[in-house]
């Protein structure tokens, strides 16, 4: 169509040139191009829209926390899990498609996205066992060296798949009965959270099959004070948070996970009298270089652990001191259901609310810099740093 108009358009240019000699020069013709992404910026963030009301159409938006512009979109299918390769160059999207939209033959697959152009660069088809659940860091995850990609399975029997992202193949399936999710450490260790509060760690051999496994002592009480599965990466492992505000730091740098003494983000009075609780879909974020923990907090009781935070509380993970309380209501923001913080020296905090607004904050001062009003999907529930 365009090329078909070259003749006509050229004539038009001539016609205009002669007729409009007294006018300022006309705007030149434009090229239709495909936008190229700039080199990645620590203030970019991947926003996963679960699209709960049209759940087969989940997507990931790449959003720039400096320009407040959407840079692109990655389609993510149904009930996706996402994670990044160690070098950040590739996004792995673990998802499920149906041959006829929301019905027909089911295909579980990991699609690989080239983050330099947001194009699909390949895929690995999975057995139809992928855990269909909400996003965490642990639905699928790469080994530290990027050699393996682990995918959590639930049928409801639990296991995980070991994939070779280079050869685009499935290497093995490893049973984890009683334990779920894939928490990676080192080049070949995969930990899972168990129903009895223990951590299962499977060490793989060179071909991605099980070499050995070990079960830790219980590090939390799943009955009295369970931890959220939404743990976040720390400098030497992961930080987990409990429903009642206990912080469980796990060092996974060794062969066996080491659990530091838990500490609480709430005083006994805050917990038992004021009933302050963490909550949401993504109820914590960690700024690793500053050692600051950001937690959406609300007042509620049993069953309120997915309620959004009416305030964001900020903690120093070394001193365990609370550094700030940032209420949402004065900012005209609804309760915070998901939080993330950038890992650079001038960090931004991203907060998604129960109204699907996304606030961009100065993570040091708590200053609200921008609100994206329902522009990042129906249900933005998870953020990944680039």
């Amino acid at each position: 169509m365009q090329t078909g108009l070259i003749g006509a358009a050229s004539l038009c240019m001539l016609g205009a040139a002669s007729l409009a000699a007294e006018l300022p020069p006309p705007l030149p013709a434009e090229h239709l191009t495909v936008e190229k992404l700039a080199p990645k910026n620590p203030h970019w963030v991947y926003v996963l829209d679960e699209a709960f009301f049209n759940e087969i159409d989940s997507r990931v938006y790449l959003f720039d926390g400096d320009s407040y512009r959407q840079l692109g979109q990655i389609d993510a299918g149904f009930n996706p899990g996402i994670n990044l390769s160690p070098d950040g160059s590739t996004m792995a999207v673990g998802t499920t498609y149906f041959a006829r939209g929301a019905h027909g033959a089911r295909t579980d697959v990991v699609e690989f996205i080239d983050n330099s152009n947001l194009a699909v660069s390949g895929e690995i088809v999975l057995p139809p066992k992928r855990a269909n659940t909400l996003p965490t860091y642990f639905n699928l995850a790469y080994s530290a060296d990027g050699r393996f990609l682990y995918v959590a399975y639930v049928t409801p029997a639990s296991s995980f798949g070991v994939l070779d992202p280079a050869k685009k193949s499935v290497l093995s399936e490893i049973d984890t009965a009683g334990c779920v999710l894939v928490i990676p450490s080192g080049p070949n260790r995969v930990s899972s959270l168990c129903e009895n509060g223990r951590m299962l760690t499977v060490t793989l051999n060179a071909d991605g099959h099980e070499g050995s496994r070990s079960l830790s002592e219980p590090f939390f009480d799943p009955d009295s004070d369970p931890v959220f599965v939404q743990g976040v990466p720390s400098n030497d492992g992961y930080v987990f948070l409990s429903f009642l505000g206990q912080v469980h730091e796990v060092d996974t740098s060794g062969v066996h996970p080491a659990f530091r003494q838990p500490w609480s983000i709430v005083t006994p009075a805050e917990r038992d009298k004021e009933h302050w609780r963490p909550g949401g879909q993504t109820p914590l974020a960690l700024q690793r270089s500053l050692g600051r923990l950001y937690v959406p907090m609300h007042r509620g009781g049993e069953g309120s652990h997915k309620d959004g935070g009416t305030e964001i509380w900020v903690f120093d993970v070394k001193t365990h001191q609370r550094l700030a309380r940032w209420p949402m209501a004065p900012l005209k923001l609804g309760p915070a259901i998901a939080v993330q913080v950038s890992q650079d020296a001038a960090p931004l905090m991203f907060v998604a609310t129960d109204k699907a607004d996304v606030g961009v904050f100065d993570a040091l001062s708590g200053h609200l810099k921008q609100v994206e009003k329902q522009q990042l999907g129906q249900t933005p529930w998870f953020f990944l740093n680039p």
Binding site: T155, P156, A157
Partner: protein, 175 residues
């Protein structure tokens, strides 16, 4: 397109204390994968239940189309009552999930705690109506049989999630 305020109500699923251990669930899951729907305790629908379904004005705790309905104390998702089903029936053309999770809800009308099973109805795209999320005693995914973040249509032939129901199994012995 629905407004956030109408749709994003508080959200998730809780479970009764006595649900079977996860490993048992896993076993049953394998056993029941693709199983046809088996009535659990074949007793006719009560007239009171039918009345409750008949719509018209009623208080929130008695209205199966309201998130506050007493049987929904631990439901998560779209209420099948707003999607062509009822509080305990799936909409036409969908299939109930053979695997599910169990809750305990108190009926204010008689003060009893009832064991209810929360089933997902499967095989059509998200209903999108009456999104409801209540979380009493809900546990994270490592307590799978108490967790509601998982898609309980996972073992269905057509495993896409459409909506959720709450079915009375019986009275809890914890009185």
């Amino acid at each position: 397109m629905r407004s956030i305020d109408r749709l994003l109500e508080r959200s998730s699923r809780s479970l009764a204390q006595r649900t079977s251990r996860r490993s048992v669930l896993a076993g049953l899951g394998r056993l029941l994968t693709g199983a046809a729907l088996l009535p659990l305790l074949p007793i006719d629908r009560s007239s009171s239940a039918q009345a409750a379904e008949s719509g018209t004005h009623k208080s929130a705790v008695d209205d199966p189309q309201n998130c506050e309905y007493w049987k929904y104390c631990a439901i998560d998702g779209f209420l099948c009552s707003c999607c062509g089903g009822s509080s305990h029936s799936c909409p036409p053309g969908t299939a109930p999930s053979p695997i599910t999770w169990i809750g305990t809800c108190r009926n204010p009308a008689d003060g009893r705690d009832y064991i209810v099973s929360y089933n997902d109805c499967c095989g059509k795209a998200s209903c999108g109506n009456c999104e409801c999320n209540r979380n009493e005693r809900e546990k994270p995914m490592y307590r799978l049989s108490r967790n509601n973040d998982i898609n309980w249509c996972m073992a269905n032939t057509d495993s896409n999630y459409h909506c959720s129901v709450s079915v009375i199994l019986g009275v809890s012995e914890q009185q």
